[in-house]
Each structure stands twice: as structure tokens, then as C-alpha cells.
């Protein structure tokens, strides 16, 4: 036991002494999470609109009034369709509206007017949400007999606030990344510095060294998570938590060990820190893709959905969401704990064995 704590203490001291690493970890857990939360915007914002109005004003101007800041920039008038097309081509305008000469006349007569829309579909999500705004606006003008009013009840995320969700997802991805890389690096550093043999020469059971080294990095990741949740998730984004915070910490602890297991595997294969970086990316990307962090699992191809059962991050994300947003009672969280724990322990044992062969 003394050996275990000696190694843990040493690794923590070494971590604190390498201030660059401390900075990177702090940055990842704070700024990175904050930027992901506040930076990624799915609603239209500052969308540039251009129009050509040959209808003589009136209805067209009324329509254009609905496009206002902050979602849209003030619409810009163009003299010809050619000029508008060119502006869309040059990425100056995302949405171009063309009001024909007889647009208003037709509208008044038989109410079947046509409004031509040029859409820069490369900014796909912004363009399509803008389009749905436009349809809503146009719908208001047409007196249809079909009148159904939608009354929405937003569940779990009452303000439909995207930031909290993005920030939390990013925190979980960062946890994955750092638990893998930090763990791999503490072993590979020994290879690089030539202290590997010295470490092996200690008359100490290899298991306690491996366990202690990965445990020390799990501690660092846990501290990072607490800082991140405290300052960014709760502090900056004011995310509500409906479930048990303690349950989240336990889940995160298991998950950090899962990452450490992958890190052990990487460390066994990599020769230097450079290779750790390369290998970690190759291993982590599918893990994150399959977790539902970027695409909801139900939207995936069926066999990808099956594969996603293997990604421990999937259980971690779903579990964390349930704790934060749904407020699921602790006992009902067992599928997520079971998922993280079973996939995690399999990965840890594989990594442990792989690096154990080098001892």
C-alpha cells in the first residue's frame, strides 16, 4: 500500500510541476467547455438577407419588416437578379428573395403568388432554419381555413437553451480525451526519459505501479471535472441540476477509469508522446462519434446503433443528461452505471493486461 501511495504522490507532484500541462488541462476543462457552450449556435444569427423588389413595394416591404436583429441583418436591396445571384455566390448574402413584378398583384387577385428564394445551402442548418422562419412569416399572411394552433411544452430544458447541453457534452468529451491522454503519457514519458527500466527494476508488484499511476491521473481528471462543473456548467451557464450531483461524480469516476484503461492500451503500443497523440485521436474519434455526442443515436444507421452499445461514452452522456436534465432518481440510473461499469472494466482490464506484458 505504501508503494501505491508513493507512486500516486509522485505522479501528482510531477503533474503540478509541469505547469504547461496544468495550463492545458485547466484550459480544456474551463475555456474549451465554455467556448463549446456559447460558441456553437444552431438558431439563425446575423443572417444576411438580400432582395430584388420589382413588385413596387407594399406587401414585399411588409414581409421584409419581419426580418430583424439579432437573427437577421437588415435586408439589402439589389437592382437585378443577376446582382443578387452574384452576392449569394460571393457569400455576402445567405438568403436572397425575389419579388416578381406581378407578385403583389397576383396575391391580391387569386392569392397564389410565387416568391422565389435563393438559398446558400452550404450553411445548411442556418439556411434551413431561416427558411422555416420565412415560411412561418408567409403563413401569417395567408388566410388559410386550416387553423391549428400549436401549444408546445418544452420538457427538461425549458428555455430550449442549447448552451447547457453543448457545454455538458463537451465536458464529457474532454473527460474522455484527457483521461486517455494523461494516463498514456505518464507511462510513455518513462519510455522517453529512459526511466522505464528503473521503474521495472523496483522489487514491487507491477500491478500496484500500473494501478497507482492510472489512479493518479483519474484524480486529476476528477478535479478537472469538479472545477468545470462548478465554474462553467453551474457558474457561467447556470445549468439546473435535477438529480444527484454525487451520483454524477461516481459515474464520472467510473468513466475516468474507463478512459485510463484505453490510455493504458495506447501507452503499451506508443513509443513516444507524439504517437500517444496520434493513436489517441484514432481511438477516441469513433468512441465520440458512436456516443451520440454529435448525432442522436436514434438518427444513426441501425448497425451503427448496435455498435454504439460498445461506446462507454454513450452511457456516460445518457446518464449525465438524465441526472442533470431529467432528474432521474439514483436507483433508476442503474442501466447507465451498469453500461459504464461493464464496458469500462472490460476496457481497463484489456489495457491493464496489454501494458502488464511490458513489465
Amino acid at each position: 500500500m505504501r508503494v501505491f501511495w508513493t507512486v500516486v504522490a509522485r505522479e501528482l507532484v510531477r503533474f503540478i510541476r509541469s505547469w504547461q500541462l496544468v495550463l492545458v488541462v485547466l484550459y480544456a476543462f474551463t475555456m474549451e467547455v465554455y467556448i463549446a457552450g456559447s460558441g456553437i449556435e444552431l438558431k439563425p444569427r446575423n443572417v444576411a438577407i438580400g432582395y430584388v423588389d420589382e413588385s413596387g413595394g407594399g406587401l414585399s416591404q411588409k414581409l421584409l419588416h419581419y426580418f430583424h436583429e439579432p437573427e437577421f441583418l437588415p435586408p439589402v436591396a439589389f437592382h437585378s437578379q443577376a446582382a443578387l445571384s452574384q452576392a449569394v455566390f460571393d457569400k455576402e448574402i445567405i438568403l436572397g428573395l425575389i419579388f416578381d413584378e406581378d407578385f403583389e398583384r397576383t396575391f391580391r387577385k387569386n392569392k397564389h403568388a410565387t416568391l422565389n428564394v435563393l438559398l446558400d445551402a452550404t450553411a445548411a442548418s442556418q439556411a434551413y432554419t431561416t427558411l422555416s422562419y420565412l415560411s412561418n412569416i408567409v403563413l401569417n399572411f395567408s388566410d388559410t381555413a386550416f387553423s391549428v394552433e400549436l401549444v408546445t411544452h418544452k420538457l427538461f430544458n425549458e428555455n430550449a437553451n442549447n448552451a447547457t447541453f453543448m457545454a455538458l457534452t463537451e465536458l464529457l468529451s474532454i473527460t474522455t480525451m484527457l483521461s486517455v491522454i494523461l494516463t498514456a503519457v505518464v507511462f510513455v514519458k518513462e519510455k522517453e526519459d529512459g526511466t522505464w527500466d528503473i521503474m521495472l527494476l523496483m522489487p514491487v508488484d507491477a500491478k500496484s505501479i500500473i494501478l497507482a499511476k492510472s489512479f493518479s491521473q483519474v484524480i486529476i481528471v476528477m478535479i478537472g471535472i469538479v472545477i468545470s462543473v462548478g465554474f462553467v456548467v453551474f457558474g457561467a451557464f447556470d445549468t439546473p441540476i435535477h438529480g444527484s450531483f454525487f451520483a454524477f461524480l461516481v459515474l464520472a469516476f467510473f468513466y475516468a477509469f474507463t478512459g485510463a484503461g484505453i490510455g493504458l492500451f495506447v501507452a503499451a503500443v506508443a513509443k513516444d508522446v507524439m504517437q500517444v497523440a496520434q493513436l489517441s485521436v484514432v481511438i477516441m474519434l469513433p468512441l465520440i462519434f458512436l456516443s451520440g455526442a454529435w448525432t442522436p443515436i436514434y438518427a444513426m444507421h441501425p448497425w451503427l446503433q448496435t455498435l454504439s452499445l460498445l461506446s462507454p461514452l454513450r452511457y456516460f452522456i445518457e446518464g449525465t443528461e438524465s441526472i442533470f436534465f431529467r432528474g432521474t432518481p439514483v436507483l433508476e440510473l442503474y442501466p447507465y452505471f451498469l453500461g459504464v461499469f461493464s464496458v469500462g472494466s472490460i476496457l481497463y482490464v484489456i489495457g491493464f493486461r496489454k501494458i502488464g506484458h511490458l513489465f
Partner: protein
């Protein structure tokens, strides 16, 4: 064709590489740079090769330069072979592909004259039979010869070789020198060669001695030796300070009355320089060890040890015995299987065949290997220790890993620090230490648990002459006071003479095992151990 170096200084960012170097070399001369690692040899070589900017000026063939840009027009006439075996080679290319590649990047006209020259180079290097072999599958010596002929392919008039012979087997070393001798005679090339081996000085026309970023002496080998002839005495001679005593020689600044029987070596110049600058290392004392001795005489006994990696046999049936109070030298070229063998003895590799007995007990299970690890000490090449922890923290960590009670550990660390003279450095980080002090503290970390056997893997490579001499004194002290068995590998042949017994290894097998006296008795015509060593490789 002449090379003149005037007041050249090189800085790597803010760190001094070499200060105020001055020397000249004429057509066809071989100039040797001799000194320890970090003494400034490589910095000067790089400045002359025009790959690093410098202060002062370098004149070659009436063209003056001090930066990479100014040296550009001369590059076609300069050949540089950097330090490290096979560094300029590509593992997957064959020998003939290398020659074609180097001809192409130098944009050489590949006419008949070129072909003749190429064939001649191949013959000199003894590589004409291996033209289709990939460089990665050549031995270290062959790789080094291939690097040399690739560097010679564009017929440089100024050839710069940075430690071309370090770690190369002795036969290839001789062949490398033969190629150089031939080239400088037929092509009139100026050759600048750095080396850590004093013995190679005899083959050089002029020698520059490097110490602490300065050239401390230069001239022919004979002239240099003459300057120190009257300053070297037998170790027993009484002497007033200042003087330095090593196992073989006593160095002083003022000639003594008694007659000297010593023939000085170039190392003497380093000692005299140290005396002049009043920088001697702290002395070493050693108190008795606390643990009681093992009763038997044979500490470790290995019979028929074999190690295989796949189909490759790294060690084949090696026998070795380590007796109490004995220094055993393990000698062999790079790739001879020394490291694999030591790793087996250390318990790092499982043994594939044969039997290893430690303190009369056979090592079989992994538990046995743990016991093995507990009774040996090990100092690796480059004194690998944790660079982000202070000397004191390093030692405490190792003590704790070895399961020493913390009181005992603190007490021993304090004692070693006093006795081995690194007391003032206890709070420094290892990279800040002078190499010689680093070496002592590495040794201290290997001695904390009072092992019965000490393994030292090239502990003296790159360390300057003085630190090396003191290190050997310390080993002798350990052997006498602690009756410890020491197994040491080295590529300084002169150090073999300090060992009690020497084992020679070649291609994974033991080819000789005898006492130093025994070796000399078997080879009465040999003057130095290097000559004996060569006998076994011919």
C-alpha cells in the same frame, strides 16, 4: 586549399556551444577533436559545416563565412556526417539505392569516372557484396561505413565527421580509419574528426583538446604529450597540493623530485588543465555497509543463459560467474548482446534457457525475479532519473519503492550525500547537475538498499576524464569495503584494465573470459587491451 578558423564562438540560443576557437588545417590533414560530451566539439563542427551561424570567421578555400547563407556556395565541397549510427541512412533503401540517391541530391554527373570512383568507395568499405541489402539490415559498423562513403560520394574537399567511431566494433573502426587515410591521400581532403577515444589520437596529424566549451590545447600528439611528461607520477609518490590522484597516475602542477616511470596519455592534459583552473571534484569516502555479508563466495552464477526473440537468438548459451568483491567488465560492440544479457540478469527479461543462481538460489518464478531485483543495484546509460524531481526527492522515492523505512532512508541519503560529495546539490534538479555529479548521485540511488551486486551499463560514456577516473576510484572503494560484485559494460578499452576479469561478447555469444593478467599472458605481444580485443575480432 586551406581551412582557417578565427575566433569562432557558437551560441545555441543563450547557451554557449564553443568559445573563441582558433585553428588551421592544410590540405590532406586529419585534425582530431577530442573531449567529453558537451565540451563543444559538435558545435564547432556544425559551424565549420556551415549549418549553424557563428561569431568570428571561418575561411575555407579563400571564401569567408560565418552564417549558413554565406557558406552556401561551399556546400558542394563540404561533407558532413552527423553523430549517431545510421542517422543519414534510410532503413528501407538498399546500399546501391543509397549511392544513387546521394548522387542525385548532389546533382552529380554519373559518367564513367563517377562509376569508377563509386566502385572504389564500395570496395574500400567492403560493401560491394552487399549492394542489394537494405541499410536497416546492416550491422552498426557497416552502416557507419556506408554513411561515410555516401558522404564522400560528391568528393568533398572538407570532410567533417562527428564521432564516427563511437559504439562501432573495433574492426570496423580500423576500416573506417583506413578509408579516411586513403581518401585524404588520394583526394587531398581536409578531415575533421571528433572522437571520445584518446587512442585514436595517434592516427591524427593534429589534435584539438576540448573541455568546457574551450579548446584547452592543440598540436601533434607527441608535442602535447611532451608538455605533461614531467607532471605525471606513480600514484604512490608523495606530493604537496595541488595534485590529483587516480588509480594509475598522480598528476601535479609542479615537477616532483622523484623519477617518473609513467608514460603519459592525452588524458593527462585534462587533469593538468583542471589543476590549473582549480576545479577538482569533491573527494569520495565510503563507510561500511549496514547489512551483513552473504557467506558464500559466488554471488551470481549463470549457466547456459539463452534469450530468443522469435527465431533470432540474442544470447546463446552464455555462462557467467560473479564473485564477491570482483569487478567484471563486459565488452563487445553495439549489438553484441550485452544489454539483452544484462536485462536477463536483472530479471527484466524472462530466461529462455539455462539456469541463473543468485546467492545460491535458483531464479525460476516471477517471485524469484522480484527477490533478484531486491538484491541488485543498477545504473543505466545516461543515468536515467526523474528529471522533474530534485536529487533528494529522487532518492526518497527510490528508497520508498525499495521499502526502506523512511528514517533509515533519510539517514542514508544524508550519509551518501556527504561521502559522495553531492551534499550541495540535494535540492537541485538532475538536468542542472554536472555530469560527474549526476553519475555519483545515480550510483547513490542504486546503493540505497545496499545491494550485493551492482550493474553498470556504460556508466562512463560521455563523462570527462576526471570524473571518469574518480568514478573508478569509487568503484574500487565499493569493491574493497562492501565486497560487492560489480558488472560493468564500457566501450573505453582503457577502462578494461581496471577490471579484475573481462568477458568479451560477440554476436550474442561469449568468446573470452579471463582475468586481465590472463589476457596479457595469452597475448604477450600486446601492449594495450585494445590490441588484445582486436585479436578476438580478426
Amino acid at each position: 586549399m586551406r581551412l582557417v578558423v578565427r575566433d569562432v564562438s557558437v551560441f545555441h540560443k543563450n547557451r554557449l556551444g564553443i568559445a573563441h576557437a582558433n585553428f588551421e588545417a592544410n590540405e590532406g590533414e586529419i585534425v582530431g577533436f577530442i573531449g567529453a560530451d558537451g565540451a563543444g566539439k559538435s558545435s564547432l563542427i556544425h559551424a565549420i559545416a556551415g549549418v549553424i551561424a557563428c561569431k568570428g570567421e571561418i575561411v575555407f578555400d579563400n571564401h569567408t563565412y560565418r552564417s549558413c547563407k554565406e557558406a552556401e556556395p561551399l556546400k558542394a565541397r563540404i561533407g558532413l556526417m552527423p553523430q549517431g549510427i545510421g542517422l543519414v541512412l534510410y532503413d528501407m533503401l538498399t546500399v546501391s539505392e543509397h549511392l544513387r540517391f546521394f548522387a542525385d541530391i548532389h546533382d552529380l554527373v554519373q559518367n564513367e569516372a563517377f562509376e569508377t570512383y563509386k566502385t572504389r568507395l564500395l570496395q574500400m568499405a567492403g560493401l560491394e557484396k552487399f549492394q542489394d541489402r537494405q541499410a536497416g539490415k546492416l550491422s552498426g559498423g557497416m552502416m557507419q561505413k556506408l554513411s561515410l562513403i555516401c558522404t564522400l560520394l560528391h568528393r568533398p574537399k572538407l570532410l567533417l565527421l562527428d564521432e564516427p567511431t563511437t559504439g562501432v566494433d573495433p574492426l570496423s573502426r580500423i576500416e573506417l580509419w583506413e578509408i579516411l587515410e586513403e581518401i585524404r591521400r588520394s583526394e587531398g581532403t581536409i578531415c575533421l574528426i571528433s572522437t571520445a577515444y584518446m587512442q585514436e589520437a595517434a592516427k591524427m596529424d593534429k589534435i584539438l583538446l576540448f573541455d568546457e566549451q574551450k579548446i584547452i590545447a592543440q598540436g601533434t600528439s607527441e608535442a602535447l604529450l611532451q608538455t605533461v611528461e614531467s607532471l605525471c607520477y606513480d600514484p604512490g609518490t608523495p606530493c604537496v597540493e595541488p595534485c590529483i590522484k587516480t588509480l594509475q597516475t598522480l598528476y601535479t602542477l609542479t615537477p616532483l623530485a622523484s623519477k617518473s616511470t609513467q608514460t603519459p596519455t592525452l588524458e593527462a592534459l585534462f587533469f593538468v588543465n583542471a589543476l590549473k583552473n582549480d576545479k577538482t571534484m569533491p573527494p569520495i569516502v565510503l563507510s561500511d555497509k549496514e547489512k551483513s555479508d552473504f557467506d558464500g563466495d559466488v554471488l551470481m552464477d549463470a549457466k547456459g543463459l539463452t534469450k530468443r526473440f522469435g527465431t533470432f537468438v540474442a544470447n546463446d548459451n552464455v555462462d557467467i560467474t560473479l564473485k564477491k568483491g570482483e569487478i567484471l567488465g563486459l565488452l563487445g560492440a553495439n549489438g553484441a548482446g550485452k544489454t539483452t544479457f544484462i536485462k536477463m540478469l536483472l530479471g527484466l527479461y524472462p530466461i529462455d534457457g539455462g539456469e541463473l543462481r543468485l546467492l545460491g538460489k535458483t531464479i525460476q518464478t516471477p517471485q524469484d525475479r522480484q527477490a533478484l531485483k531486491a538484491s541488485i543495484g543498477y545504473v543505466s546509460q545516461h543515468f536515467a532519473l526523474y528529471n522533474d524531481m530534485s536529487v533528494q526527492e529522487n532518492l526518497l522515492y527510490f528508497a520508498s519503492m525499495r521499502g526502506l523505512p523512511s528514517e533509515t532512508a533519510k539517514e542514508r541519503i544524508k550519509r551518501y550525500a556527504q561521502e559522495l560529495g553531492f551534499e550541495n546539490y540535494l535540492n537541485a534538479l538532475p538536468p542542472e547537475l554536472p555530469l560527474g555529479i549526476n553519475q555519483r548521485f545515480s550510483l547513490a540511488s542504486a546503493l540505497l538498499h545496499e545491494p550485493v551486486i551492482l550493474f553498470l551499463d556504460e556508466p562512463t560514456s560521455g563523462v570527462d576524464a576526471i570524473a571518469r577516473a574518480q568514478f573508478w576510484e569509487l568503484l574500487k572503494c565499493l569493491k574493497e569495503k562492501w565486497k560487492i560484485a560489480i558488472l560493468i559494460t564500457t566501450h573505453y578499452m582503457s577502462e578494461a584494465e581496471f577490471c579484475d576479469r573481462v568477458v568479451l561478447m560477440r554476436q550474442g555469444a561469449k568468446i573470452a573470459d579471463d582475468t586481465i593478467e590472463g589476457f596479457y599472458a595469452k597475448h604477450p605481444q600486446a601492449h594495450t587491451f585494445e590490441e588484445i580485443f582486436l585479436e578476438y575480432f580478426r
